[in-house]
Subunit: 428 residues, 2 copies
């Protein structure tokens, strides 16, 4: 790993947003499904996924879901149940309640918190079919109280066998009861606009390939969508006491994701810097995904040596990483200085994969420096708020003149008259 | 107003997103300011706003702000102070606190809530320079705890006199201390990327013309932006007891905003439908902005007659209006049925302008049917959350095997090894 000065390093990478051809393809698919419904959905499924289906076969049956349990190891089911439990417990602590405030003059103001009515979760096929992502998208929606959560996934994620049984088990354990075997831009269009077989949703979330990402952007407005995820990142902030082999292993756990992933060590110790560089070189050679990890380290990895922990935290705040590990003595004392980081892991045993799979907090976290202004997925992403306003006659009489003054200053006489007509009727 | 069947009516209007030429102009301005800083900012200010400034003149001085107070009526200052107070009190009830949860095995999980560090508020010039919008954008950020709130506005919103003194007074009362006399796409670029005179922000909000809207979209990602506001809307749900003159006045208070605004009555009473139609015809003729209001009513206005209040609420939920007035007997009993509405006004005296100017809830509310999945601006729009994870040695030893099983199932051996290396060092 190269050792670079702090000032020269930035986490921002150019993320691909699709070619004009890909955009045109996606627009055509979305329009066709919007206007033709199931007919277009089935046509594109046959053309792109090479699976011929009838409309009645789109929905995954309960029997198919039950059968999936016999195709996976019992230990996998137990692991998923444990993860689902922890994720549920953590997200339940984010639940919010409607509130209101009353005044003696009869004024009542408040906020009504409601779940979205129907949410669609996309689960990609192939190697990106991660059971953990099913839990991380579905459970926050469920805890928010979303009554209808529907999942879509390409018809042959598990090869000729149909949908990957691990995905079906994760979906069932997360509580999904409505699943369709459709993928790609056509599935996104079906969720956004509805077809004869699939009712439209209010929000679409979940990862996907470039066609899925472009389709989500295309339907945004008709429905809400989640953020486009960038490549993964980790920053480890370590002093000279940290175990270099742990630091290196954690850096590599991000680097193996993707050649564009970024793994960065910020340390107060030059000898630690060298020790971690050596460990990374040693450990990377033993990884199955070593070519990906090595490319990530070469292009987007870095070691930054700083004079003090506080200076290191300034670097962290500037980078605003997705994942931050704080492996220094008494890490709690520095929390108050850390402004920008999507998820913060404290101490030697809080390795980043703890958060990816089991601890409970969401593993969908802002990337590419956006932790400066955005947050991990949570229950708030699946609610909506309505303001509530009740003014009594007394309150309107007492405040009407102020409202009219402000409205008239802005040249909105119609606004003023809506108040005035009431005051006049009350003889004011 | 035309009376239409419920099924035929939709609130969705095609909103303009700028011509290719406008997009190209904005891209060029943004790039120039990003790369040249103040030099480009001042050049575009001279070219587009016809005001020649030096960099040292960009910032509005304290003296200029103080002088503004002598140019506005004392009653305006009092009105703005009253509104600012109410908005502050309402938004303070939304403040959230960081939380954590502890387990006996040493696990600590939580969420850290932090304000954004620096927020930019755009205030348009000309007739759209609304003091009320200054309050509605600035105060939620302030209540969230944002330490730096900076405002930009075109250099001659008040004509040759410089910036509109009413805007300066509203800004001062809202607590803004850093103001710059720059507008248009060049101001958005300066906020996003920073110049020698203006430090970059984390989020930009506030209304503007099409160039401002396109520039915000262009810089999104480098900074967060607020939603693009569509044309305003009101739905009034009224029974036969509602006062037709109040209903008509409230419908017109939205219709006068904009020719694309939409004002809709949903009523259980045919005689009420006719009475409101007559009142609208009578009242619109007396409005200064009658041509705008009439165009809005003709194009996007409607009266929908339903059999029951419950059926009316189904129509409301489908339309998901920005503003909903419920003018029926005992309106509270229907609140539980109303799923989609940005702001809900209950009873005869809760006229919509009460919420626009004074009550306290935000007047920046989802439009164009997006209340199905989004919410009025509030304190949550100016915070970010970090997940906090601490696992003890004991917790990792107890859970390591589960984490490794899930990681290996997903083909991420590097994730598993980050756990394994720790377990092995502990002799497991």
């Amino acid at each position: 790993m190269r050792i670079v000065p702090a000032r020269e390093f930035s986490l921002q990478r150019e993320v691909e947003y699709g070619s004009p051809e890909q955009n045109a393809t996606v627009k055509a698919i979305v329009q066709d499904v919007k206007h033709e419904g199931d007919a277009a959905l089935l046509r594109y499924t046959e053309k792109l996924d090479r699976v011929a289906l009838e409309a009645s076969q789109l929905r995954v049956t309960d029997e198919e879901i039950q059968a999936a349990y016999s195709k996976v190891e019992a230990s996998f089911v137990t692991a998923i149940q444990k993860a689902a439990h922890n994720i549920r417990v953590y997200h339940e602590k984010q639940r919010r309640t409607s509130w209101f405030d009353l005044q003696p003059d009869g004024t009542m103001l408040g906020q009504i918190i409601r779940p979205l009515r129907r949410v669609g979760v996309y689960v990609p096929g192939g190697k990106a079919a991660y059971p953990s992502s099913v839990l991380m998208n579905v459970i926050p929606a469920q805890v928010a109280g979303v009554p209808e959560i529907v999942m879509v996934t390409p018809p042959a994620t598990g090869g000729k066998e149909g949908i990957d049984p691990y995905i079906l088990v994760a979906a069932a354990e997360a509580g999904v009861k409505e699943l369709y075997r459709v993928g790609g831009a056509q599935a996104i269009a079906a969720l956004a606009y509805g077809t004869e077989s699939i009712a439209p949703v209010d929000k679409i979330c979940g990862p996907g390939n470039i066609y899925v990402a472009l389709a989500k952007r295309e339907v945004y407005g008709a429905v809400d969508i989640d953020s486009m995820a960038g490549p993964s990142e980790i920053v480890v902030l370590a002093d000279d006491k940290a175990d270099a082999s742990y630091v290196a292993a954690d850096l590599l756990s991000q680097a193996e994701h993707d050649e564009m992933a970024s793994a960065i060590l910020v340390t107060t110790s030059s000898s630690q810097a060298q020790a971690v560089a050596d460990e990374v070189a040693r450990q990377v050679a033993e990884l199955p995904r070593r070519s990906i990890a090595q490319a990530s380290i070469d292009q987007y990895g870095a070691i930054i040596v700083v004079d003090t922990i506080e200076e290191g935290i300034q670097v962290v705040n500037r980078l605003a990483p997705e994942h931050l590990e704080v492996m220094v003595e008494e890490p709690m004392q520095y929390l108050g200085l850390i402004e920008n980081a999507g998820a913060i892991f404290l101490g030697a045993y809080s390795s980043e994969p703890v958060g990816d799979y089991l601890a409970g907090p969401n593993h969908i976290i802002p990337t590419n420096g956006t932790a400066r202004y955005s947050s991990p997925v949570d229950v708030d992403d699946f609610i909506k708020k309505s303001s509530l306003i009740h003014y009594s006659k007394e309150a309107l009489l007492a405040n009407g003149a102020t409202i009219m003054e402000l409205a008239r200053h802005e040249g909105l006489e119609g606004h003023a008259r809506a108040i005035q007509i009431r005051l006049e009727k009350e003889g004011k």
